[in-house]
Assembly symmetry: C2
Homo-oligomer: 350 residues x 2
DNA sequence: AAAATTTCCGTGAACGTGCACGGAATCCGA
DNA sequence: TCGGATTCCGTGCACGTTCACGGAAATTTT
């Protein structure tokens, strides 16, 4: 109830008999200050429980920091378009903190373009970096450089099993595959399932589908050991061939009623599903792209396992901003985010 | 790329030939200022695209605003404990904005305690109020007072069909009942379902279960017209009687395999479920209380429809803070938030 | 021991806004 | 036309930092 002013830099200056300039120097450990003074100040800070006033701090700050964002390019209708959909808002929120976000994108199927993006990114002299890694090797060398320069970095979407990153925000990938299997089978034993894959996914070594497939397979092994698992590749660039592939498959295996894809492009199945309606069929995919949501609404897809990639981007950037401004590490390093189960009845308010 | 300073209050003072004091007066329309000056300033503001610097503004502000939060009491293990679990963090975030949150709680089954809480709340002279309404009449009179005093207010959890509130954050209640029915039946026709209700819920007239039940009933009517809908009341204060009620019911109707509750206390069924295991049974409830999550993990409950009540609280408060500080209304008034479908496989990262 | 360094630290001007104080201009009635 | 009321508006300090500048103190050099 008391008015209780917060303790300011001047309070601790008075207490230590030093000046605010010196206090500032030890707070940001810049410039020269004697050991004795430094300790007196730190002691006083602890005692008075000093916390800097963010508003005053930002107001007075000269330099603006930049956070670099390194993600696959956000083509229309893609997962990454979804992930970056709220970037402008994040940017706006951080601007008053004198923090600028620079966005560098690369072709998620070209390791060379990733290297190029890395170089351009490094040239912007960022204070921190947020990375969505698709290529193992390239990411490792990038991380090496960052570590050497003392630039903190965070992962989103998927991560490498290394140490040194500040934070990770993303789905628990293995478990998402496990859950997917449970939803697809409805907890019952089934006889056949078709996994549809995209050719080009094979070229990446660090993307989400790897772990998802592993989780799926383990579930089937444990709960549905007798099930035959079929697998086919389709080509997103060639819808006709893809359709033909599926028709050939189902011509041979008409008994297969369960279909699953582990990336965000289950909507690629639409041409086939539409021309061969079947009320008994169950189809599950990932991510709430608009095309997927449409298919869900119309009943072509049974369920989607969704995430909020825009939140992951936002949280990762926010974490780095906190690190820069407050200098404090995030509470948790690995932030596994909730998987949403979407049906036609709960997508509207997503 | 240019350094491009933001336009300040001084810029528009210079442009208009007035002083920053006058500019300040029209910006906050306080004090006396001639019509001519006011217009010149507004014109200049538009022309230069002036936006106040939030940091400087907060730094310079004298008075601290208070936002009052009026919700049912957060007893241990209750829904409202969950809802308020992140209140301290919200509070902390708003403190640098010179905004204080005061929390007033009432017994959700006593209209009198609600009135008392209202009085105490009004005495705190809040700049804005966030309300979780349980009683129709009491809330209406409160709203009347607020309106008269010009204090803006927002609803969370459920709302009254009136005009005048600034924002609403909550589940789409009717739809949540509809979804619940779809998940319970799995899209198939079923023969019987048991709705378990809590006696005391009848005494409130503005709580979420009303609309949920309506959505559920409509789904059943449309998709499962032959289904018999049973209904029983239990008493949370008397577990033994509740157990007896359920045992009596299932003694008479052993064929019933589907059970649903529309409030957050599906965990009350646990004693019965545990002593009468049945792998074919499906049980669905609402809200991710720890007790419910436990039951889900152990397989006693099949699915939960969850929400993030803490987010609703946070967002509502944030919206009011924005209104106070920036003076701008929220983009959307009714914010229907996503319903989460929880199974034992996706609860961990919730 | 004075000069030249080096180390340490105090001063004061920003940053952009809020607000109290009181001065100047205008108006009004007698 | 004059005094007082009213309306309008300018000035300047405060908010709590950051940071450059340069002075004082300590240390080393000659």
């Amino acid at each position: 109830m008391a008015p209780e002013r917060k303790t300011t830099i001047m309070d601790i200056a008075r207490l230590t008999g030093l000046s605010k300039g010196t206090v500032d120097r030890v707070l940001h450990n810049r410039g020269e200050v004697s050991k004795k003074s430094r300790e007196k100040v730190m002691e006083a800070v602890r005692e008075l429980g000093y916390e800097p006033d963010l508003n005053a701090s930002i107001l007075a700050r000269r330099e603006v920091h930049t956070i670099a964002l390194l993600v696959p390019s956000d083509e229309k209708g893609s997962f990454w378009e979804l992930a970056l959909s709220t970037l402008d808002k994040v940017r706006e929120n951080l601007l008053p903190m004198r923090i600028r976000i620079r966005h560098f994108s690369y072709d998620q199927y070209s390791e060379e373009s990733f290297r190029d993006a890395c170089l351009g990114m490094l040239e912007s002299r960022p204070s921190a970096v947020v990375i969505a890694p698709m290529f193992r090797a390239g990411t490792l060398t990038l991380v090496g450089v960052l570590q050497q320069r003392g630039i903190p970095y965070a992962f989103i979407d998927s991560k490498l099993e290394i140490d040194g990153y500040t934070a990770y925000y993303g789905m628990p990938l293995y478990k998402s595959g496990y859950l997917c299997a449970d939803l697809l089978t409805g907890g019952k034993e089934i006889s056949d399932v078709l996994i549809v894959r995209v050719h080009r996914d094979k070229e990446r070594q660090s993307d989400p589908t790897v772990n998802r497939r592993a989780g799926f397979m383990d579930y089937m092994l444990q709960n549905c050991p007798a099930c035959t698992i079929h697998s086919r590749f389709i080509d997103p660039a060639d819808p006709d061939a893809s359709l033909a592939t599926l028709e050939a498959f189902f011509g041979e295996h008409p008994q297969v009623r369960h279909i699953v894809m582990f990336n965000s492009r289950v909507h690629l199945l639409l041409p086939y599903l539409r021309s061969h309606p079947d009320r008994e069929r169950r189809v599950i995919g990932f991510d709430n792209l608009e095309a997927n949501l449409q298919a869900l609404r119309h009943g072509y897809i049974t369920m989607l396992i969704g995430q909020h990639p825009d939140e992951q981007v936002g949280l990762a950037i926010q974490a780095m901003a906190d690190l820069i401004v407050f200098g404090r590490q995030p509470v948790r390093r690995d932030n596994f985010m909730h998987m949403d189960i979407l049906t036609k009845y709960n997508i509207e308010d997503y």
